[in-house]
Symmetry: C2
DNA sequence: CTGAAAGCGCTTACAG
DNA sequence: CTGAAAGCGCTTACAG
């Protein structure tokens, strides 16, 4: 492979001059620039990224820290990764995948190995152990997910609060006065302010404002449990016939259970939900839903990280991406 | 951050000696080694990966080339990525994500930028444009997916042939004499020998051997089309009541259509399928199936690539990972 | 067994 | 506007 020296020789200039046209940080006369560019083309030269990184102390690489095998139930993960990589490349950054089971360790190694200029932590939860080494080191990072205390690190997430508001509004506007709130298992709400809590709080607040009665239905983990729970509540005549769902597993299972029971949407039951676009595509779901905007979130994350790199001392950002409602007429108009 | 020079000074030795203990390629007396290790611990020194890469001309990084936004219907992609990253790390390699829309361009840039020692191409199909720049350069690579002509590049894939055989055997052993072969759209079989063709060929061959009549049902692309096609064939009394499925979209949709028609498995219809474990988990599918073994495939890919790096001139490998059948009693015994 | 020196391929002040 | 020199943090023959 040709080096900058080969190009310099070929063009009859010094290596510094070649470097000047490579980086574009210095004026070079059009003639010598042309000669250099011809040499580059002729030799098929391409800069050695590693050498440049060593000289500039910038790797132009971001690390994406994936949580311990979360792929288990996360059809959106691949979308996030691709979206992050695309957004990074657009800004001149490559992307490294860090999947170590011990997330905190992955972060520490990434920082000390100096392989990346910044870190993107995916799916951050309250009390996430990966925050520890980042907070300590002050390493440029961005969180995808919004814990109460971001430890002085920029963070971006879907605005779960307004997602809840939108769904409640949609149901209320159709004239419904009560709905089941099909939600995550109780444990998820214990760990402080997670996205689940934010969704829940807004849902109840808005429901109160709109005169909608919310009947909570916590759904346990596991396919059979999900199925059984849904079966039970859907057959209970005392339960509302409208479902407001914030639980991917429940949404995915719902069509099966409805099928089992011979129930139709929206004739027999009305359904609105918050779930990822990937889930909808995979399951061919046709419920009115708030999409989780993974691409927008990914782009915002990269943007925040670039901004942080450019201005290390700028104030910490907490950015919420506003979702939008996708209508699928799964709510019967009652008004 | 401490450098090797700091460590050397702290330990009272030369940088070469520190390097010797770092690389482990030279004997160092236990005493000086201990001193050096103490210095490393004290200074929290960690080798600068980039500098080492420049000196050794080895980046210890693999690039994973993802095809143009295949995430669209690929719940398995994330699993592959995580499995590849894990397998690579186990062997001392980091992993870079290359998602450029133009796959061939991504390959070219990765090679010329010297950011990676080897490339892993995901989801390779017949006539894949990414093969071109690899074949030309002879850059160490491995394909996940098995085109007829791998252009002299190592490749690994699920053994679709034996997958088909296993499914046919399973159905035939239960006494079935005919089955619908629910497959991909015809176009997919045109492009030469893809995984679909390999599956198909083996299915027919084995079916002939076992006296099973196979009725092909090509399923067009798109949720509505899939649904309509399944509806039609499931209602056609002339069609076999046994389904051998090799089409993720059809498998995913099947429970819905069966529900619509009030059909039960295995009472009314028998079903076997080839689909990814992720799909099964997402959809809570309960059909006897051959799993796509993404983790085993990922591990084999990394292994092949490492072997290639170690022995550049070793013979080209084509490795097929044998799948295994997961029983879910979705086939009614007729014998 | 340890160290001085050269080199990996770049960039960046600093002269001219 | 261009070039010579030093330096980024490592490793690796080569002496001793």
């Amino acid at each position: 492979m040709a080096t900058i020296g080969d190009v310099a020789r070929e063009a009859g200039v010094s290596r510094s001059t070649v470097s000047s046209v490579l980086t574009g940080r210095k004026y070079v006369t059009p003639e010598t620039r042309a000669r250099i560019e011809a040499a580059i083309a002729k030799l098929e030269y391409s800069v050695n990224t590693g050498a440049r990184a060593l000289a500039t102390a910038k790797t132009m690489t971001f690390g994406i820290v994936v949580r311990f095998h979360e792929a288990e139930f996360s059809p959106a993960l691949a979308t996030y990764l691709v979206a992050l990589s695309d957004a990074a490349r657009e800004r001149g950054y490559a992307v490294m995948l860090l999947t170590e089971a011990d997330g905190a360790e992955a972060v520490r190694r990434a920082i000390s190995g100096r392989q990346v200029d910044g870190l993107i932590l995916l799916n951050v939860v309250e009390g996430d152990p990966r925050l520890e080494p980042i907070g300590q080191s002050g390493f440029p990072s961005v969180l995808v997910g919004m814990p109460e205390d971001t430890r002085g690190v920029d963070a971006v997430d879907l605005d779960f609060g307004s997602a809840a508001t939108m769904l409640v509004d949609h149901v209320a506007a159709a004239g419904h006065r009560e709905a089941m709130f099909v939600r995550w298992p109780d444990e998820l709400y214990k760990g402080g302010s997670t996205y689940a809590t934010r969704f829940e709080r807004s849902a109840y607040r808005r429901a109160a404002e709109r005169g909608l009665r919310l009947v909570p239905v916590p759904v346990p983990v596991g396919p059979e449990q999900v199925r059984a729970t849904l079966r039970t509540v859907l057959q209970d005549p005392a339960k509302p016939r409208t479902l407001l769902i914030h639980n991917d597993a429940a949404v995915a299972m719902l069509p099966f259970v409805l099928g089992d029971l011979g129930l139709e949407v929206p004739a027999d039951r009305s359904v609105v939900s918050l779930h990822s676009a990937e889930l909808a595509r995979l399951y061919v779901l046709s419920y009115t839903a708030v999409e989780s905007e993974s691409t927008a979130v990914a782009q915002a994350a990269v943007e925040l990280l670039c901004r942080r790199l450019a201005a290390p001392d700028s104030p910490v950002q907490r950015q919420l991406v506003t979702p939008h409602l996708e209508e699928k007429s799964s709510v019967a108009p009652l008004a």
